[in-house]
Subunit: 152 residues, 2 copies
DNA sequence: TCTAAATAGGACCACGTTGTCCAGTATTGG
DNA sequence: CCAATACTGGACAACGTGGTCCTATTTAGA
């Protein structure tokens, strides 16, 4: 239902949000998120174009969030890499349906709207703050770990 | 978000449900639903394997619903051609997440669950019965038309 | 200034989905 | 039995997504 690219983008953003201070390089993020690094670089480029991250070249460079995690929603991330296509006009091109969709497409669009709304109301910060047995991207069960594996 | 195949399958099922008595041939359905007929035949085969429609060969053959429209849900149709993949285990394969997903994947799966639930609670009959300005697959605005274009 | 680190971005390939075409087979009617 | 109808199913082409690789460019620091 969601594309691989969306999954990757969300992982990368969670990774960045979990250590907001230091820039993280493509390969660091790739290691933490288990995303193929060459492909991750494409995804990060899309996120950069959408102004969600900022990439800094050169030694000590890497990526940082372009805004505080509390101000970035899941929907923004999804929209940056693979926007949810709402159904706005009849897919059959029937004149009579135009903007007022028939019950079938109305139902489908309602489902899309629900997803959109759920994603719009969830920020990166909320994801990281949520109490849980497990922490995003982190392989040890208990809390108190900084959500990302600390590099050796 | 939803695949083309899902869209086609739903159209075909609505088409069949709108005239439950007579079998409709592939090309009739294709014309009504504006789906490429060669591809529609693949979709109908999937629906047949899922026991949602029954195909009858030979003269006067065609497809009919295998169950009453009131007993077929949108979810069944979607599942037949392109099942919604719920997130059941951590996509990163992290041991600690196992069944108890981290907040990120929990959120994503909740969105999937919402869609699933919306589709599970909607039947074909409900789609056709719903009052609306426009009728599925039908290009004239007012009700009282049988939801499918009557053949000349 | 030179080198190493790191992003930016283009070219390219593999694969699944979508879509087409064609031969095979069942069914009805004459 | 014959012919027309219509589903069944396999082979194959077009296309977009996911994924790899290689080169150019920027930047920090010795």
């Amino acid at each position: 239902m969601f594309t691989q690219t969306v999954e990757y983008a969300l992982r990368a953003m969670v990774c960045l949000a979990s250590r907001p201070e230091v820039p993280q390089s493509n390969s660091q993020i790739a290691a933490t998120t288990k995303v193929p690094s060459a492909y991750l670089s494409k995804v990060l480029q899309k996120l950069a174009k959408a102004q969600l991250v900022h990439g800094q070249r050169g030694v000590q460079g890497g990526f940082v969030l372009a805004q505080p995690a509390a101000e970035i929603t899941i929907l923004q991330i999804v929209s940056a890499v693979d926007p949810i296509q709402r159904i706005r006009t009849c897919p059959l091109g029937l004149e009579a349906h135009g903007v007022r969709l028939c019950p079938l497409h109305r139902k489908m669009d309602q489902a899309l709207a629900q997803v959109e709304s759920a994603f719009a109301s969830t920020t990166l910060a909320a994801i990281l703050a949520e109490p849980s047995d497990s922490v995003p991207l982190c392989d040890f069960p208990r809390p108190r770990c900084a959500a990302a594996v600390s590099p050796g």
